[in-house]
Symmetry: C2
Subunit: 325 residues, 2 copies
């Protein structure tokens, strides 16, 4: 990478194709695809992540186009950078592809990656290609942070709990796909499928949060589970106001959930598949992209408040999601 | 990563285990495993690469221990950084593992990665864990370069052609493994198997080359093929002196090659699996780690000189290697 390294003649041709596709200038990138490694130049603080999308685990080929897969897998990695308050500026893509995978298919995948990268102002500057049995896309992204990185561990008792982005709709889309509804028959389903296939990392929100929030985490495994990580890292309790959370859910999700036999709140808490950010900070500083859905209190764990009683949030994704990831 | 992200309870336990294993201080690493991304801080120029080792493509489980796999896959990625004249300082590891993979097996893999990272003065600061069908290890490494990165494109007519590290022995080891010789019966086989299982990126050589060489490339697909890349990138011809090359090959390789029914030179030119560096530079500046094996001349392509005649080097790895990668 940076060399796109590969092991056969046709793969070398594929690399030339990718080089043309990914070509993009960036002041921090001195050298992109074509050598043993990419060369970056930048002072300051960087955040760095890697994320993998694996066939049969995170997706099935029938559920989304290769361009969707490229788009989605790229946003997933970028979402981690956003959760740290960073602006993604460069990425490497490592693709493992099955024997029958064609150059045209690789190009479709790459076009989706490129669309996602461009939407975030990020350059794809190299990668790696390998044969394998199942298709997987591993994306590593670096982002710059202005002053400091936004950690999971900074929440303070008295903070508001903030949500940036949408919860549950992508999980609803996944359930439609798992039920064989590959084409939307109405507006709500269309939005849910799009939410699964074309999620968007919360770049603007992440940058806003970086200035004012005390803590943040990428919500990708369901709100309850990821809130638990933030609570533990910060040594606090998070109290989620279910009415406020319900108010933050989209009409499309509320329309779809009954069809799926599950409550919208359940999908938000335990559905996973989201690319939202959960953050905490002082109420007076709440950014425009954030909605208040609760508060940070003394204690431990994640609690749900329905206006009358509080109960401990159940385990997230790992107990209730139909997905295998 | 940096968060080690994962999707099930046992995986969260695995992450804690990895966090303990990989713990290492580094002045350039502000935050390692445990959040959404790692945080780095450094001024200057960085090189960045990603490399994947995929089961059934780059290795079979029976050929090497999981610690060997971790070691080998890490060195492969680091070798790209060395070829750019960089010093690896931080890495993320993304592992896709089959359903039956245990925490103990993950720890074995991680111990091999850690041993490789330590041998290079590099910290593993995060990664990603995903389920999958086949085992694969994708490693992304950043390295710092002092003044400039060493590119493939800088070779100048009149340069000497330099080899740092060993050629062919690892490919001989691979052939032994493919023939079912999993345990060495003599010293030569022992060295060849070790060369395949525990290769070492040319860190010192890369740093020496960074000061004096005009161009360099990581030799991992066979000398002939990688020399062709360097020649093309630099717009020059490379003339390899077969006698000098033969003199650079190890006694172990010369002892083993007849048993494998192949010439040592053939394994060096087309065997692949090496972690050597090929570089060019002025004869007077040749570093101690480099051996002269030819020269840079006007023209194009890679040529072999046997003392009497010159002939064009055949295609590398892709035509002659028994490996499937």
């Amino acid at each position: 990478m940076p060399r796109m390294s590969a092991r056969s003649l046709s793969e070398f041709a594929a690399i030339a194709q990718l080089e043309a596709l990914f070509q993009q200038a960036s002041s921090k990138v001195e050298l992109g695809i074509g050598d043993d490694a990419a060369v970056l130049k930048s002072a300051g603080r960087w955040v760095w992540t890697v994320d993998a999308a694996v066939e049969h685990v995170h997706f099935e080929r029938g559920w989304l186009s290769l361009a969707d897969l490229g788009f989605r897998s790229f946003q997933a990695a970028a979402s981690d950078v956003s959760a740290m308050g960073g602006a993604p500026f460069a990425a490497l893509s490592s693709v493992i592809f099955p024997a029958h995978f064609s150059a045209a298919e690789l190009a479709q995948l790459a076009r989706g990656q490129r669309a996602a990268a461009r939407s975030l102002g990020c350059a794809i500057i190299g990668g790696n290609l390998s044969r394998g049995t199942e298709l997987s896309v591993t994306t590593t992204v670096v982002g710059s942070v202005q002053r400091r990185a936004l950690l999971r561990s900074g929440a303070i008792v008295g903070d508001e709990l903030w949500l940036c982005g949408e919860l549950g709709l992508s999980a609803a889309g996944l359930r439609l796909l798992q039920a064989g509804e590959l084409r939307a028959t109405d507006q709500a389903a269309r939005r849910a499928l799009r939410s699964f296939r074309r999620p968007q990392a919360q770049l603007t929100a992440g940058l806003q949060l970086a200035r004012v929030a005390h803590a943040a985490i990428d919500v990708s495994d369901g709100l309850a589970g990821d809130a638990r990580h933030l609570a533990r890292a910060s040594g606090v309790e998070l109290l989620i106001d279910l009415q406020a959370l319900a108010g933050a859910l989209s009409p499309a999700l509320r329309a779809l959930a009954p069809r799926l036999g599950v409550s919208p709140i359940e999908l938000a808490l335990h559905g996973g598949e989201d690319y939202a950010l959960l953050a905490t900070g002082p109420r007076r500083a709440r950014p425009t992209s954030a909605r208040a859905i609760g508060s940070v209190t003394a204690g431990s764990g994640v609690w749900l408040w329905d206006g009358r009683r509080r109960r401990r949030a159940g385990r997230g994704f790992e107990h209730s999601s139909p997905n295998t990831r």
